[in-house]
Symmetry: C2
Subunit: 814 residues, 2 copies
Amino acid sequence: MTSLNDIGVSALVNCGSALVFFLCFIIFQVQPMNDRVYHPKLYIKDKERKGSPTSRSHRRYLERYFESDCRPYLMSFKWISAALRMSEQNLIEHAGLDAVIYLRIYKIGLKIFVPLMIMGLSVIVTINIGGGHLNSLDPDTNLNSTSISTSNSTSNATLLFSDIDKLSISNVPSASGRLWAHLVMAYIFTGWTCFILYLEYKRVSIMRVKFQNADRRRPEQFTVLVRQIPQTSQESVNIQVQKYFQLHHPDYYLSHQLVYNANKLARLVKKREYKGEWLSFWLLKLQKSDQKPMTRTRIWGLCGVRVDAIEFYLSKIENLNKEAETERKLVHQDDTKTMPSAFVSFKTRWGAAVCAQTQQNMDPTVWMTEWAPEPRDINWKNLAIPYMQLGCRAVCVGVALFVFVFCFMIPVAIVQSLASLEGLKALFPQLESILEQKNFASFVQGFLPGFILKIFMMLVPYIALGLATFEGHVSLSKIDNAAALKYYYFGVVNVFFGSILTGSAFQQLESFLDSSSVVGFLKTLALTIPMKATFFITYIMVDGWAGAAFEILRLQNLILYHIQNTFFVHTEADKLRAMNPGPIIFYIGLAQLQLYFLMGLVYSVITPIILPFIVGFFGINYVVYRHQIINVYDAAYESAGAFWPFVHGRIILALIIEHLMLIGLFFVQGPITFETIESSDDDSTTQKVINFLQQALSSTPFIIALPIFTYIFHRYCKTRFEPTFTNYPLEFATKRDMDDKGKDPNFNISQFLQNSYKHPDFLDEKPIEETKEIVKTIQQNVTKKKFRPLILRNEKVDSAIDIPNMCHLSTFIQ
Amino acid sequence: MTSLNDIGVSALVNCGSALVFFLCFIIFQVQPMNDRVYHPKLYIKDKERKGSPTSRSHRRYLERYFESDCRPYLMSFKWISAALRMSEQNLIEHAGLDAVIYLRIYKIGLKIFVPLMIMGLSVIVTINIGGGHLNSLDPDTNLNSTSISTSNSTSNATLLFSDIDKLSISNVPSASGRLWAHLVMAYIFTGWTCFILYLEYKRVSIMRVKFQNADRRRPEQFTVLVRQIPQTSQESVNIQVQKYFQLHHPDYYLSHQLVYNANKLARLVKKREYKGEWLSFWLLKLQKSDQKPMTRTRIWGLCGVRVDAIEFYLSKIENLNKEAETERKLVHQDDTKTMPSAFVSFKTRWGAAVCAQTQQNMDPTVWMTEWAPEPRDINWKNLAIPYMQLGCRAVCVGVALFVFVFCFMIPVAIVQSLASLEGLKALFPQLESILEQKNFASFVQGFLPGFILKIFMMLVPYIALGLATFEGHVSLSKIDNAAALKYYYFGVVNVFFGSILTGSAFQQLESFLDSSSVVGFLKTLALTIPMKATFFITYIMVDGWAGAAFEILRLQNLILYHIQNTFFVHTEADKLRAMNPGPIIFYIGLAQLQLYFLMGLVYSVITPIILPFIVGFFGINYVVYRHQIINVYDAAYESAGAFWPFVHGRIILALIIEHLMLIGLFFVQGPITFETIESSDDDSTTQKVINFLQQALSSTPFIIALPIFTYIFHRYCKTRFEPTFTNYPLEFATKRDMDDKGKDPNFNISQFLQNSYKHPDFLDEKPIEETKEIVKTIQQNVTKKKFRPLILRNEKVDSAIDIPNMCHLSTFIQ
């Protein structure tokens, strides 16, 4: 029942808050003290900007923290053009291909929806307004007889139509000839979307191939992950792998690296890193205060016996180092810790490509080969999962996903009912007096249910990620993809259909299976969809517009950074951790994006007035994320756009959902036909032919053909482009091999690949002696009073104490 | 309403006719004159039996045609043990692996259904009889209140239950605890079926691998079919292919053979063969009659000018030879006749395996590689289809298949209505007097509709084959598989569901989509299924039992052979053609088999009384087809059991259909639960827990889990075994390559592969001069009166006149 007026108010509020956020962002980002929050990527990576922070450090004290010059404020919207200026090629070098392809998705949104918006608003809205169906209805009888209501939708029939509805397909009378226009538009829209999708798939696959063939050797081009090496009692896995590949790939096999279950070692190394950080903290304190620092032995130094802090942590590190050393040896010796998997490297790309794409053994479940992921992209923990478990895990995750998607609202409802006044009274009878206070009661009733829902919804991405991780994919990129898929399904069922149909998802499923028929279900949906347009418009403004502004503001990170900086940051490592922006969380972004494609496409024909809002979403987010990718996020891995087939598939799914909704609508409206040609003579044969033509030319076959065409298009794209995302063509392999040979005939590929696929915790076997020596030097310097502050150039300490995530530091502080 | 009595009568009739057929077979097959009908395979192939037909030729004239000795008649059932005696290994050598695996399917039917029958008859039938539900109903009210009838099945509710129904699940009251037994049995049956399927898939894949690695070089092991070679204007396809593979597979590429569109040449060669047969006929006549044979020039020598027959056909052949020669040159020169495909051969199996399984180009739709089919297995005509057409063809076939499966009954109904009395009167008003005769009217009404249906049904396999061929598969085995799939779908919809639900398939589809819900549809089906058991029992006896006996009798072939032998057989080639049994028509056999699996599995829990009939079907057919494969059919190609995944998949589909029917039944019967445990105390918490347990332990989740488990099993088998049917593991390739090298280091693989993948019509470039010379020799011999009859040893003539399908002859006549 939202009128256009209400929408206007909502738009005002949301645009207002978005503007406020942007304004805050402009003010905040100009302040030098926030620089590490708003441009961490540049701190970490960008060499061109290196001058700017250091130049700032020469300023006066206050200016280091606040920008007093007004020029930066005036040039406030420069960041937009700055974000848009960088060329795609530079962006690939700066942020990786994944980020660039991710940005392309927003651009595709614009490419698809801008023409759809123009046509929708000019053609469909005009036709809908001209339909004048809703005006012709007596307002008094609307409650139970809007012409589109059928017996199936008793609950919906009570909804009144709004101003927005007059712009929607609901305003067109049943079986009106005007519906042909909608049908034609549906074809045009689908055709345009498919056309854009085709171009983009082509472009993205070319980008991927180009990127993979860029003039740089990558270890993953030479390496294959072999799984399910059959266990024999006679030979160790190590010898077995060597023999096998020397026999079956004699000309190409180079070396291999076994996979170990080093999860315990990883825990030990992590613990040692943590202790190492404490050690640097105390060393810094020693340098500053000149006094022997003391600490207590338990719970962050809060209780226990007082001891010399440096000695204490040094001995802790020594112990952990020893433990790690023992564990390292154990892992190598203990056969149960050797997984039946190996990274096998080949002399040429050709050899690796052949091995990765062929079946080795008669039993396809042993000696399984696949491309090794990029070293950064490996999830080492999941590599330790026995392959045979994966099937069971997949089944479990399937069941869990079903429960998660369809039964998620059940615990929410239970907690909500427990958190109601009555529920609380029953749980805590002793608090009854407090609960009966009016203010508290209204708080409980008004705020608590929404708050509980919000809390539960915040858990959803983590659940999706947890499920995806549990599935046991060996690469982070695959986990991201799987999590995006799960999160998307959740969104479609609980956000999209959940908003359209009332009742929980599980009830929907039940009603779909039980009471109504397939077409009946579609009809019910089709009836409700136009009425929910206003809801989705508000949703887009809140989630898409204001959300984007909030994203760029990074309020959460800003506050956290300053809190950490003030209270907890002791060493440069801490500072780096506090400012660390992490990667874009692809799976949340992808799932969210796909929901907008779904909304846009479903409403494109039904209520095209929603399209400008969708276009707004894509436009704003494109700029915002371009800025964020340039300035903030740092990629965790590079999968060369491996998520693209997923994106493509989901947009196709959105198209097909659109078509199903349209089928429902056209079934509700009754099949429309061309006007009957009244034949003047009564010849029955002619009449028969005309009748037949009329039947054949009714809308039904045309509307049913639409999803079929879309599906065929999808199949075509799949066979045409998808192999590019799984295989590495031999042609390229030969070409690159020959290029390499020509350029650098004596390149030692063996050395190049030596440590690429070693578990990272096997690599840093730094002896404790080095650390001890550095500690000693510092202590001597302190006693000799000739130390210089190590805060800015403490690579030496760091490298000695060996904190892997401080490795950025050296680049940055130089 | 069929009682057990009626079934007995039907069984008697069908068993009777089956027995008569078998008896006829025994009598007929003993006759020497029928030997070529009942043992053609042995004539063609079997060397051990060579003595027996020749020894018969020494008998007296009559005995050559009729067996007067009574011993063979007495040992009449020897053929059964003879059929069963041959070991599997011998059978593989004798008839090929395809035939052996085909026979295994019947054996699997026995393995699955014999234990099911025993358990079904002993457990389920006992439980059903004990149910006593149908007895408790008042017979008078049966018409409208059999307890299983719901409002959904008004038409079915009027059916009376029969004696058979008392043995079926219908006899168990709703929500009875007895249904638990059915649920448990469903699990046991499914588990057993899956167990057998697993063992068989394993066994078959081992057989396939063993066969492929048998100690014999096969051209297909070294050859890859490359398709979609991109056209460039600069280079011919020939040079392009050579360059490409020399570059990308430098160590393994051996040679290649381009694919030409030689369809016109094939027509010319076929025509020449036909003329060649006429020439041999006239030459024989010349030798016999000693007179210059004359013929007329047109329509099988019936009209036109009288000419010297031998000269006439010799000139015809000469002309055709010239034409073929021109066409042959043209094909080689004309670029439009060179298809962008080639058979590329490699030096080693390893090289071919690598090329077949890897992606060559960035664009996966050019330079596509796949294993070359066996040379015999190639469909040369389809190789000439441009690859880009295949997608369109697949879409067209998809649509056509849908129409074929769901709308097939519409033209049948139309023709039937035209062929009714009224229709005929309207069409031929002048015949009204004849039509009104009583005899004729009863013929039209009683016989014509069934006859028309029969005629249409006879077309079905040809339509399925036509559709499959049109899809453009390049190998005969794939066409067979695709045709089997189509024929099977037709059977499931039109025979199985068509018999269960009344109305045409299209109406069923409509009713499924429109009026009833998913579960409602299942319920309707579930209600009708038990009632149709008697129909299917009759069907099995007619189609399965009597059909098998009719198959072994080969009455059609017997009659045709003798007619041809008497009137048309002039040359030995004609005789061979007349007796030629052809291959087993796999696609018909497979589709039929699968229907029996479907019937058996669906009824295994519902009406297990059907199982003995199914077991009978598999038993009889196993023996019959074993006999036929040994004695009659000659394989056209060898695909090493490539159809197995199809067979496996269809049995899984049958299982899932069974489970869906059971879900429908259990929904109708209402979810059954364990007896409520009456708790003595009134503690509400305990009661709640019990209620919850009761809910959780109701049948619903258990029955729904069944198809999911089956599907998971199917996925497992697919990943575990299916690659064996598409890939050739590198391990075997290396092994076989090394074996070969060890045994025969100087083997000329180039020569071995030289002509393997040449279009067969390019190979027989026999010059006309040779034919002429032979004709001359014969003519001279005739004039000199010193010829010897050529009928028994005419290899020379045959080879000169060059009739490829006479190549058997030389082996046989020696």
